[in-house]
Amino acid sequence: MDLGRTQRLIVKALETGEDVDRGEMLEYLRPRLVLWATSRLSPGLRAKLEPDDVAQEALMAVHRSLGGFQGNNHKAFLAWVFKIAENRIRDLADHFGAQKRQKIQPLTFSQTPPSTVIARTEEVQKVAQALELLPEDYSEVIRLRRFEELSVAEIAELKGKSANAVRILYCRALKALKLALHEEGGSA
């Protein structure tokens, strides 16, 4: 896909080792992470966690450990970001698990001060709602292909499917998403 402005900046920064505006970079990642989390959260966790909060947590973690990132390209960067995000979800899941066992009053993310949670843009909102309507495997393939930007071959290996099957699954997912978007927003 074509690179957007911020993405170009990040790619350039990664390649040249230049400094990039962290605030801008994190905000660039935010909608992607929100949608990613929408798709990634299991229904159980989804009841407890807001994708916005997961994205916020992940962004904070990314911010903290940005200095430790060793890669020099966009793909590696995304992989790294989503690995951090995965870890955050795991931590949060553990947190809720522990909470159940120990019955400790948790600090829930919905208590995050409103100012730190940037309102979702309309587009993100729309796509998120549509994603939530999709069956799990559709949502997943879109997540892997569009948000994590894995190649078809990579997804195929990950899921133990043939590349062809992934391709077709992806097409069906897109078609379903388009339908869901229509359901959601009327005329898209």
């Binding site: 992607r32 587009e123 569009r146 948000f147 062809n164 077709i168």
Partner: protein, 750 residues
């Protein structure tokens, strides 16, 4: 792009599964193509998919929607995916005035590049009309090297036009991917673009944004000119995105840099083509720096490095063509795009070219032409010396003529003079014709050095003037100068910070303007505000709430109230009525402040009491004004250059500025500025070159233009003041001796 009706692949005999395979593979190929930075060939996809093409485009549209969500394109609100008869597929480019989308006409199934005018606050009132006019004009132009306009109109109140989507990389992409064309091929290709420009110009259309990104190389190798009507307000884009490579106007001509809309004409496009050619030849733009302001200066004043210096093997003719296009003065460029086309073709065919850019020798002689800032009036303002190098066409004597001098100058002509000699009114040399001489100039007393030390004196058929600027640099003067001007320089910094931070912030944390008090008779001070009486004018600068009133009290009695004239301005100047001014005699304590309404009490934060200063405006400047008069009287009125009144006015304006008497200074310079602007507009209207020597406020004029581009300051007054602060350091002692300054400053401190 051609649109032959493709043979739809039969679909009836295809199973649903086969169809899915077809779509999935097509989508995958689509991505592969894009990942390589190429534009997918829609025709190929269409014929490959047949009836399924629509379905395929739906998938692409769904992806576009996701991509839009995860990578917001910018401040512009997103257009709906379906827009009028079109479906927008993706954003191709975004300019200041519009956005270009790749779109598909749903009924016709035709893929187009759709240009949509932005309708934001930054769109100027005539933009819509111009956009339409241009689209209409373009729709008539058919040219092999211009992308075809299919239709234009308005959807949801937003003007757009649709044009053919040219398959192929732009010259920029070509260059970046290392596939730089060979110079002859490049010139042959660009000749087509030049021919296209000639056609456009004949229709009265100026492209305004010719750059490598806007020249697309079609499948058949043809160079196509694309992207019209977006560059109109590129300047504002530049300003909002300073430092951002996307908005950096690397290929912009000097006249565009100056924001002089009336000066933009056919030769502006010739500059753009030259800049593109330069980039493609050398791999770098003619000028490059990270700093926008520096870039502006380079484009306005510096010559590009010759392409041959970067690429020694490049033929001189080719290099000359590019340089000729990149001349600062429009008259020095190719007169028409057709002439440029002919030269490009001539080079491509190994025939002699006519390009003859200004070389170093001529450059020395053209200082004035290329640099209006250094014209006669400027020399007077700078006050050190102005020289005329007179050389009759075939005569042997070379006359150096000193025109104005506040400091004696010495001159040495290399190979003729053994040592420097005093430069009297006229110095005449016997020199050989058709020979270039180097003249060195310096100040007779220590503490000055010329900005231009060496002038190449070559042959020329006409009288030329070369202006030299000397600046004082003695240690003592530096020390005094730094001391004197530290404050005003800080003021600039503080001001621009404030402008950027916004007024709210400033009022939370009022900056102290105490050190920045003007050097005039101070009328009022207060944290974050100052006021000064100027010839009965009142200038106020403050953190200023919207709709405020300016109120004055003497002895608890309200003597005057007036509204700020422009709600969004941060400063104003008003004349006190005679009755009120009469109350403000020296020594009287006056309270002034800003109130929310006419009859309200001034806000506590914006209230200050002051003692009306006793200094009169004329008094401290008496010696300067007398000196100026003498200088003006001495100026030979027969000489080329500004007339006496202009000389006096410029000098007086300078003196007033230096004394902090801005209103007086502005009053002196304003008529000249207005007249000069008028003259430059008139010249543009009549399509002739502006005779720089007739400009009378040149120094201020050009700086004003530059600063108005920067648009950092809300009013010309502010800009003017700032630019003068800027130059003060360089011009110490021109009008004020150190002792005078010291005395002046002491008086201020009291």
């Amino acid at each position: 792009m051609k649109h032959p009706g493709p043979d739809p692949a039969p679909r009836d005999n295809m199973t649903e599964e086969q169809l899915e395979h077809l779509l999935a593979e097509a989508l995958e190929d689509y991505h592969r193509t894009k990942a390589r930075g190429e534009r997918p060939d829609d025709e190929a996809f269409r014929s490959r998919l047949g009836d399924a093409y629509g379905e395929f485009m739906e998938l692409v549209a769904a992806e576009t929607l996701i991509d839009q969500a995860i990578e917001p394109a910018g401040d512009e609100s997103h257009l709906p995916l379906a827009w009028g008869a079109y479906t927008l597929l993706r954003e191709i480019a975004r300019g200041a005035a519009g956005v270009v989308y790749e779109a598909i006409h749903r009924k016709l199934g035709r893929k187009v590049a759709l240009k949509v005018l932005r309708t934001g606050v930054d769109t100027d009132a005539n933009a819509r009309e111009r956009f339409h006019r241009e689209a209409k004009a373009l729709a008539h132009v058919k040219h092999d090297h211009i992308v075809e306009i299919y239709e234009f109109g308005e959807i949801d109140g937003r003007p757009y036009y649709a044009m053919s989507l040219v398959d192929g990389p732009s010259l920029m992409q070509l260059e970046k991917s290392g596939k730089r064309p060979e110079p002859r091929d490049l010139c042959r290709g660009l000749a087509g673009v030049a021919d296209a420009l000639a056609t456009l110009h004949a229709e009265g259309i100026i492209h305004r944004d010719v750059k490598p990104q806007n020249i697309i190389v079609g499948e058949d190798g043809r160079y196509m000119l694309a992207d019209f009507g977006l560059a109109r307000s590129a300047m504002s884009e530049t300003m909002t995105q300073s430092g951002d490579a996307l908005g950096t106007p690397l290929y912009m001509s000097p006249e565009q840099m100056l924001g002089d809309r009336k000066a933009i004409e056919a030769r502006t496009d010739i500059y753009g083509l030259g800049a593109s050619m330069y980039q493609l030849l050398t791999g770098v733009p003619p000028f490059k720096t990270d700093n926008l302001h520096a870039l502006m200066r380079m484009i306005l004043k510096e010559r590009p490095v010759s392409p041959r210096r970067l690429l020694p093997e490049l033929p001189k003719d080719c290099s000359d063509i590019a340089l000729q296009c990149l001349e600062k003065a429009r008259k020095d460029r190719y007169a028409t795009a057709a002439a440029l086309r002919d030269d490009l073709l001539a080079f491509a065919e190994d025939e002699p070219v006519r390009a003859d850019p200004v070389g170093p020798v001529k450059r020395g002689l053209r200082l004035i032409g290329a640099h209006p800032a250094l014209s006669a009036a400027a020399a007077l303002l700078l006050g050190v010396g102005m020289w005329a190098l007179l050389r009759p066409p075939s005569d042997v004597p070379l006359t150096l003529k000193s025109k104005v001098e506040l400091v004696e100058l010495e001159v040495k002509l290399e190979g003729v003079d053994g040592d420097y000699r005093p430069a009297a009114d006229r110095v005449t040399y016997q020199v050989r014709p058709h020979q270039t001489y180097r003249a060195h100039v310096r100040a007779a007393e220590p503490g000055y050095e010329p900005e231009v030390e060496t002038i190449e004196v070559g042959e020329t058929g006409q009288t030329v003037q070369v202006v030299l600027i000397a600046t004082q640099t003695s240690t003592l003067a530096r020390k005094v100068g730094a001391d004197l001007y530290r404050e005003p320089l800080d003021l600039r910094k503080r001001e621009s910070e404030k402008v950027h931070r916004g007024m709210t912030r400033a009022s939370e944390d009022p900056p102290s303007f105490e050190p920045y008090l003007p050097r005039g008779p101070v009328a009022a001070t207060h944290a974050g505000s100052w006021a000064v009486l100027l010839d009965g004018d009142l200038a106020v600068k403050d953190v200023y709430p919207k709709g405020a009133w300016l109120v004055f009290y003497v002895d608890g009695e309200r003597i005057h109230a007036e509204p700020f004239p422009e709600p969004d301005d941060v400063s104003t100047r008003g004349r006190l009525p005679a009755a009120a001014a009469a109350r403000l005699t020296p020594g009287v304590r006056c309270t002034w402040g800003l109130a929310g309404a006419k009859n309200a009490q001034p806000d506590e934060r914006f209230r200050a009491t002051f003692e009306v200063a006793s200094a009169q405006v004329e008094k401290p400047l008496a010696p300067q004004l007398a000196r100026i008069e003498a200088l003006v009287a001495k100026t030979d009125a027969d000489q080329q250059g500004p007339d006496r009144s202009a000389v006096g006015a410029n000098l007086r304006a300078e003196a007033y500025f230096r004394a902090g008497l801005y209103a007086s200074a502005l009053a002196e310079i304003q008529p000249l500025l207005d007249a000069d602007l008028e003259a430059s507009f008139a010249a543009e209207d009549e399509g002739r070159e502006l005779d720089q020597s007739t400009l009378r406020s040149s120094q201020y004029l050009i700086r004003l233009k530059e600063l108005s581009i920067l648009a950092l300051f809300p009013s010309a007054k502010e800009r003017l003041r700032t630019l003068v602060w800027n130059d003060l350091q360089m011009r110490d002692q021109t009008l004020f001796t150190t002792e005078e300054w010291e005395a002046f400053r002491l008086r201020q401190k009291k």
